[in-house]
């Protein structure tokens, strides 16, 4: 059980580090689909997301001027939210006893 916890904490810490610190250095070039859409010419058919004005839109926290802080905070929120939702989901799905198939 302890081994299990240690592994989980290590993985979670790595995820936080990547989303909060490393994410600032991510390439801001368009991704594969955006680039293809630009090159071929159908990028204009894209519409703004209905929640493009959301507090966390485009991986930044609205109102935080410092882009390193803004991206980092958005990353932290995303990691914690994903961990919370997915852990609750998977724990509720798991087999409670090993005998049952």
């Amino acid at each position: 059980m302890k081994k299990q916890n240690r592994f989980w904490i290590a993985g979670f810490s790595l995820s936080i580090f990547l989303a909060v610190v490393v994410s600032f250095y991510a390439s801001s070039s368009p991704d594969g689909l955006e680039k293809v859409a630009e090159d071929i010419g159908f990028i204009e058919t894209a519409k703004e997301s209905a929640n493009a004005d959301g507090v966390l839109a485009d991986y930044g926290v609205k109102g935080v001027e410092n882009s390193r802080l803004s991206t980092g905070a958005a990353g932290a929120i995303g990691v914690v939210a994903t961990a919370g939702v997915s852990t609750v989901l998977f724990l509720s799905l798991r087999r409670k006893n090993r005998e049952r198939k």
């Binding site: 070039s29 159908f42 058919t45 852990t87």
Partner: protein, 225 residues
Amino acid sequence: MHIPDGFIDIPTSLAFAGVAAAGVAISLKGAKSSLDEKTAPLAGLTATFIFAVQMLNFPVAAGTSGHLLGGALAAILVGPWAATLALTVVLLMQGLLFADGGLSAIGLNVFNMSLIGVWCGYGSFLLLKKLLPKKKTSIAVAAFFAGLLSVPAAAAGFVLQYAIGGTATFSVATVLAAMVSTHVLIGIGEGVISALAVGAVMASRSDLVYGYKGVKQVLEVRSQG
């Protein structure tokens, strides 16, 4: 790879949302029988890690970037059912919280990344595992190629959607050629990250790796005989 609103018309988006919902429903059933006390927390951790790494766009060619999709990686670590669900949670978070991927396009994105990415990645992983020597290191090697293949496959999913309900009128062949060639490059990055991550878990907790179970069973049978 996250499709915004507008690229694909609404009827097509709805149809793919239906297929995606069916895939997720089946995966909920499948995950119930494949997850236990030990693997359920790993499935949550896998979704979390994929969310984090998807933020890390890496440059692939002049003015183009790509990021991990994670379908093959998740399928190898926690099995294809839980992987489908993990990717779906990530896509929902991205669409709902971060406006990454359109809301009307969620079904399209789940179809491409949670269904095609996971199942194509898992299928090619199983095939490679059969072909490669029955060694621990083969799992990471298979993860590389499974990751590599899963990205252009998911990109081809977009082309299918474009062919059915694209709002632009550029030829499907042009879009297919551009999407596949660009995403083979991104696939190399996907393969490297998948192999590193699977390799790290194999080195520390190989007992947790879903895709390694078959190999272990073969070894056990032999040692008994």
